[in-house]
Structures are given as structure tokens and as C-alpha cells.
């Protein structure tokens, strides 16, 4: 009996992306550069987060023609973003045959109260989370992959570190709790009890856990991997830097050899200018992307 679109089939693809780098691309040419550098998948979008942050306005799903053009250019999986809660944009991406949908805080939310009910789709979803409660709410809605939100388009890793540490600290805490303490934990983190119990018993998330938001250097990628990320998403960090191809290749190496300082030094040399970073404290509260979604 052939079964499509089950959670296991969806997380199956996420498993195959482990130890890799998923790169934001806005043109087929960039997609080719990403694939040639060893990206494990590309994320098709209209503008990278740094430009969305700079130019403002409403950021939406990429136009279909751009996604088709990128799909035709590369043989690796192609992902694309939809606005939080915009399930019709997701229906479009599923119809196009996109491999993974990112319900992303980088785009302007379409619904400030509800996320997409992701069980309705055969295409897997990745969602951002700042803490374990948020991760488990997204998983309960059907997400097959969780990533840190970080603070996209800043070239500043501080928020991704905060989110990864937060999620993993809460997992460790749940693992140490008695069964009769789990209902209170579920109440406090506003997460479904059965998932809280699963995490407590298994000491990990039920889906893979990746990092995103602010990765700009090979060392940033390796930092997230050493903190427990199983792969990294790089948005503006590559194509907003001086030498995109070289930096992309270096970050790919860093995701594989994240615990080998000798290799990290080798790949970090002569990369040219990194993207210009932004101090998180200089961003007005209304422009913090990580606070979109709940």
C-alpha cells in the first residue's frame, strides 16, 4: 500500500538535508551558484531578508515564473516561502511541486492569529521557533522541520544562538521532569501535552532541528551546528557578501566539518567582505521579524 504525504515521508526529506546548507536565492543564476557550491537545497524568494528589511513594504510569496525558472535550473530540492497563515500561497506552491514550504516570518504575515494547518498538505513545511513551546505548536500543526527564527537579514548570529539554546535547554529540562510534572510544563509552554510527553521521553524534537537567521560566516554555521543544529539555512549572508560563490562553498564545508577547527580555518581564509551586519539593539521593536507568529 503506497502512502504519500505522511509525517514520516515529510521528515524523510528533512533527514536527507542534514549536515547541509540551504541557501536563499532570488534568480536562477544564483541557484546555479548555490548548487555548484554544494548547497543541499535552495530557497526561492523574491528578495533576500536584508533587502526586505531595507526596502520595507509587504513581502509575499515569490511569483510562480521565478520558482519554475529556479526549479528548471537545479537538480537539488527547491523550497519557497509563504506568509504566516497564508494557506492559499501554500496551495500554489504545492501545485507547482515545490519540495519544501517555509511558513516564514521573513515575509509579512497574512494572519496574526493563526498559522497554516499543515496537515492539509502533502508537501512538507518548515517553521521557525524561538522556544520549545512554539516549536511544538508548529509540529502539532504538521511542520516536518523546525528551524530557529534568528533575526533574518542582519548578518548577526545572536538571536539564532539564543533560540537554539532556548529550545535545547527546554528539551533537557523536560527530559528531567517526572511524568506528573509534564501537564504543568505543557500548560506553561502552551504546547500540546502528548508532544511534551514525547519530548520528555525521547530527549529530542520529533522532527529535525535546523538553524536560520543571521548566519554570515563559516564559523557562524559551525557554531550553530556545535550548538545542536542539524543543518543551516543561509539567507542574505551569501549573496550580500563580496564573493558569493567562495563564501557559499566555505559555509558548505563548515556545515560538514563543523567540529574540525583546522578545516574551519582553511575555509575561512580569503573570503572577501562579509555582509554588513546590524546590531539587534538598533532595530526598532516593530521591525523585529522573530516576533512575527506566536
Amino acid at each position: 500500500m503506497k502512502k504519500t504525504g505522511t509525517l514520516e515521508v515529510k521528515t524523510g526529506l528533512a533527514e536527507m538535508l542534514k549536515g547541509g546548507v540551504i541557501m536563499d536565492v532570488v534568480t536562477p543564476d544564483q541557484a546555479k551558484i548555490a548548487e555548484d557550491a554544494g548547497a543541499v537545497a535552495v530557497m526561492a524568494l523574491e528578495r533576500v531578508p536584508a533587502d526586505i528589511r531595507k526596502h520595507g513594504g509587504v513581502a509575499r510569496m515569490s511569483p510562480p515564473e521565478l520558482i519554475y525558472a529556479i526549479k528548471e535550473t537545479v537538480s537539488i530540492p527547491v523550497m519557497a516561502k509563504v506568509r504566516i497563515g497564508h494557506f492559499v500561497e501554500a496551495q500554489l506552491l504545492e501545485s507547482i511541486g515545490i519540495d519544501f514550504i517555509d511558513e516564514s516570518e521573513v515575509l509579512t504575515p497574512a494572519d496574526e492569529d493563526h498559522h497554516i494547518w499543515k496537515h492539509d498538505f502533502k508537501t512538507p513545511f518548515v517553521c521557525g521557533a524561538k522556544n520549545l513551546g512554539e516549536a511544538l505548536r508548529r509540529i502539532a500543526e504538521g511542520a516536518a522541520l523546525i528551524r530557529t527564527k534568528g533575526e533574518p537579514g542582519t548578518g548577526n548570529i545572536v538571536e539564532a544562538v539564543r533560540h537554539m539554546r532556548h529550545v535545547n535547554r527546554e528539551i533537557r529540562r523536560l527530559h528531567g521532569l517526572r511524568t506528573d510534572e509534564l501537564m504543568t510544563a505543557a500548560k506553561e509552554m502552551a504546547a500540546p501535552f502528548e508532544l511534551v510527553r514525547w519530548v520528555s521521553e525521547n530527549n529530542c524534537l520529533p522532527v529535525p532541528n535546523f538553524a536560520a537567521g543571521g548566519i554570515a560566516t563559516p564559523a557562524d554555521a559551525a557554531l550553530m551546528m556545535q550548538l545542536g543544529a542539524e543543518s543551516v539555512f543561509v539567507g542574505s549572508g551569501i549573496f550580500k557578501s563580496g564573493d558569493a560563490a567562495k563564501r557559499a562553498y566555505a559555509i558548505v564545508q563548515a556545515a560538514t566539518h563543523y567540529d574540525d577547527a583546522e578545516i574551519l580555518v582553511k575555509v575561512s581564509r580569503d573570503l572577501g567582505e562579509p555582509m554588513v551586519g546590524i546590531d539587534i539593539h538598533e532595530i526598532p521593536a516593530s521591525e523585529i521579524m522573530a516576533d512575527r507568529g506566536w
Binding site: E15, K18, G38, I76, A255
Partner: protein, 189 residues
């Protein structure tokens, strides 16, 4: 000691399966990690990416040579693509191990990925749930290559000398039947 190529991809679940079976394993990322292995698993993932990472780690030549030493090698999904001599859709190079032709991503995008039961009669495995994730398909095989299993008429697993290649993921299902049978077959347990 069984090696699991861990440049990228599905190495984690293979390592877990070996651990569950109480078998020592080592993640392989550099040429020196191949020393002394009695078996090697090349997992699924993105074969193009793995080729690039092999070049970067100067692992392509050592792996090609390793495949000529007679040590049992198992390839799953992208691992099969790396083992077959001819790769299509699109064409790419390989470790040149099995005289067979394989088509990449033969079943469509992730939307078409699926779980199904397969039989491997020669290994006494029946109705075994496995996962086809953006799976490849074996198109042709030369003399000496045996069919191991089929899925709805498509060749889904092959065996050649010390090589086993399957187009699916046995490691994603919650069982270790496949790994146990492979190790028994090649006296690895």
C-alpha cells in the same frame, strides 16, 4: 567497524540502526576515516552535494579505490546513485562500482515521495516498509548484477559482488530488519 559516509544526508538514521544492533560504527568525513573499515554505508542525501564535498575533502579517489578492495558497501538512494557506473537525469560521475544505469529523481518532486512495502525474497524479508524520497530508479544492469527487489515492476534493489544498492530508505522505517540481513549476508555482525 562499519563506516557511514557522513558528508551530508541520511547518515544519522543509519548510525542509529547500527547502534540499535549493537554494531560499532564510525562517521566517515575524511580519507583517514576509511582505515580499517569492514563495511561501508553510503546514505541518501543529495548526490551532487556529496560529490562536491568528496572533492573538497579529497575523498573521491580514496572512496573509488575503497570500492575496489572487496569490502562490502551498501548504498541507499543517493548512495546508489554514487555507486552505479552510469547516472542520468542529469548525467554525473560516480564511484564507478556497479555496472548499472540509474536515473536520478525518477518519481517526481517531494509531493510524490512515498512509503511502501517491499519484499526481498533472497534475504527472507517480506512486506518491509521502506521510504522512497525523491527516489532514483535503476534503468539497466549489466551481466553479473542481480535483482534484489522490485517496487511495482521497477527495479528497486540490486546486488553485485560485495555491493548492495537500493533506491529507497530502509533506515527511515522503525525497524532494523534490512541492516541486520545485510550484515548477516556479508558476515559483518
Amino acid at each position: 567497524m562499519i563506516g557511514v559516509l557522513a558528508l551530508q544526508g541520511g547518515f544519522d538514521r543509519h548510525a542509529k540502526a547500527l547502534k540499535q544492533l549493537g554494531v560499532d560504527h564510525r562517521l566517515v568525513k575524511l580519507p583517514r576515516h576509511l582505515n580499517g573499515l569492514t563495511g561501508l554505508i553510503i546514505p541518501g542525501g543529495e548526490s551532487t552535494t556529496m560529490l562536491k564535498l568528496m572533492d573538497a575533502s579529497e575523498l573521491f579517489e580514496p572512496l573509488t579505490e575503497f570500492c575496489q578492495t572487496g569490502v562490502p558497501v551498501l548504498g541507499t538512494c543517493a548512495g546508489s546513485i554514487l555507486l552505479c557506473q552510469k547516472v542520468t537525469h542529469p548525467d554525473q560521475r560516480s564511484l564507478n562500482a556497479i555496472p548499472a544505469t540509474i536515473e536520478r529523481n525518477a518519481y517526481g518532486s517531494q509531493r510524490e515521495s512515498f512509503c511502501a512495502d517491499v519484499d526481498i525474497p533472497a534475504w527472507d524479508l517480506r512486506q518491509m516498509p521502506v521510504f522512497f524520497i525523491r527516489a532514483p530508479r535503476f534503468l539497466a544492469t549489466d551481466e553479473g548484477v542481480d535483482a534484489l527487489c522490485h517496487y511495482q515492476g521497477d527495479l528497486a534493489g540490486i546486488q553485485y559482488r560485495q555491493f548492495v544498492a537500493v533506491s529507497f530508505h530502509p533506515e527511515l522505517a522503525n525497524h532494523t530488519h534490512f541492516h541486520r540481513a545485510w550484515m548477516q549476508r556479508y558476515n559483518l555482525s
